[in-house]
Amino acid sequence: MKKTALVRSIILVLAVGLMVTVLTGCKTQTGTLNWGTDPTYAPFEYTDANNKPTGFDVELMEAIAAKMGKTSNLTSGAFDGLLLALEGKKFDAVCAAMTITPDREKEVLFSIPYYRADMGIMYNPSKITVTKPEDLEGKTVGVQTGTTGEIDAKLIAGVKVQSYPDIQLATQDLENGKIDAVVNDFPVCTAYASSHPTLKVIDTTSIGGQDLTQLYGIAVRKDDTQLKGDIDAALLKVVADGTYATLYRKYFFVDPPYLPK
């Protein structure tokens, strides 16, 4: 039966092809802390003039790795895919200005909080005036999908929320006058506004009575309690020897109002 011979040989070749790709294997280095982030979110993670990743999170992770006796090994990818990649064991931790939320805690395990952020509202003062969130009633506000900014913006009464796949598109529209404001983490807004002086930022800690302060955590896989413990311990050492405060001042120009504990 020549036909089944053909079918069999085809299936064999497909299987061999798949095996070859599999056998190129997965290299796991034990002397490194493998983590991921999306380097498009200054001042937490972005790239320098040589397009090398840098930022508060990057340097913090380098310090934490050092305290663990390891080197930091960073993989970059789109924010929306980071937790997926973590699940898929492409790396073992995610540090990406990620707010600890009950929903996220269902999927991953977080370290002790390493940063407290307030929400920021960025706007163009020549067009509208914003002193409190309620001033955005009836206005159009840009946010990044999947962020706490998106969730918080929707708490404002009478606001129209427009979601973007990344925050730069939202800020671009703000500059072009297409939207009235952008809601995102306060330090990200101030970093952006510092190079766009036409824009102003206000700091909010609550909307409609709801506390908005967010705590950032380093995410690991849900069952990886070992790594969480190691990271927590290393983080506390980084705080104890003053490295944390130095980094904080470097990126946010003030003393840290909150120390991890």
């Binding site: 190129t24 397009n51 898929g88």
Partner: protein, 214 residues
């Protein structure tokens, strides 16, 4: 506001992303074409059960956005214990995605060969396999090249989805530059130009082939 200088200053970084994009496309296309040919042949000639399974695969893949497929393949393999490094994972995902389309390209080409050709082959005593190998498939070669070139160009563009599985391709690198310089348009335009440089020769070659086939 568009600034050439941003593109020029960051050209090496853009080009390193372009290299990822290009090499990923070439590798994925190779496996996608092989797999697509096999799936296509199995679908047409593999019998009822195999035909139904391959048909299911083809329709399911073609009806699903490429991003979703990439995430499924990338995400599903570790569950069965297969944990590939970045590049092979992306290549497998893209190949699985595109093999379905390429299977249909081959099917269409094989079906466009007049029935009399296989009848003549059979009348000489050839089996289905021999007829395919010596008579039908050689005649499809010219006919499949233009649609394959189209798939190649589409694949180049779909490689941009690998940013979601933490790979730095051309588009993601452009985004990184934009975030750093707070000027998104310039690097995106730079990336667009590089994409065009990669796709245009393929499309030109395909068009010249189409003229020759007729």
């Amino acid at each position: 506001m568009f600034k050439w200088s941003i593109i020029v200053d960051n050209l090496p970084f853009l080009l390193s992303g372009a290299w990822t994009t290009f090499s990923l496309t070439v590798v994925s296309m190779f496996f996608a074409t092989l797999a697509g040919l096999m799936v296509g042949l199995l679908n047409m000639f593999g019998g009822k059960i195999v035909g139904a399974i391959t048909r299911l695969y083809i329709e399911a893949v073609r009806g699903t956005p490429a991003l979703l497929l990439i995430l499924i393949v990338y995400y599903a393999l570790p569950i069965i214990g297969v944990n590939l490094p970045q590049f092979p994972a992306a290549a497998v995902s893209l190949a699985v995605c595109y093999a379905a389309y390429i299977a249909e390209v081959f099917r269409s080409a094989v079906e466009s060969i007049p029935k009399g050709q296989s009848e003549a082959a059979f009348s000489l005593g050839m089996s289905q396999t021999q007829s395919l190998r010596h008579v039908i498939l050689p005649q499809t070669f010219r006919r499949v090249l233009p649609p394959l070139a189209n798939e190649f160009a589409a694949l180049i563009k779909d490689t941009s989805l690998v940013a979601f599985i933490s790979m730095q391709d051309l588009l993601f690198n452009a985004k990184i530059i934009g975030a750093r310089t707070y000027n998104i348009m310039s690097p995106y335009i730079g990336a667009a130009i590089i994409y065009l440089i990669m796709t245009t020769p393929v499309m030109q070659w395909s068009r010249s082939l189409e003229k020759k086939v007729d």
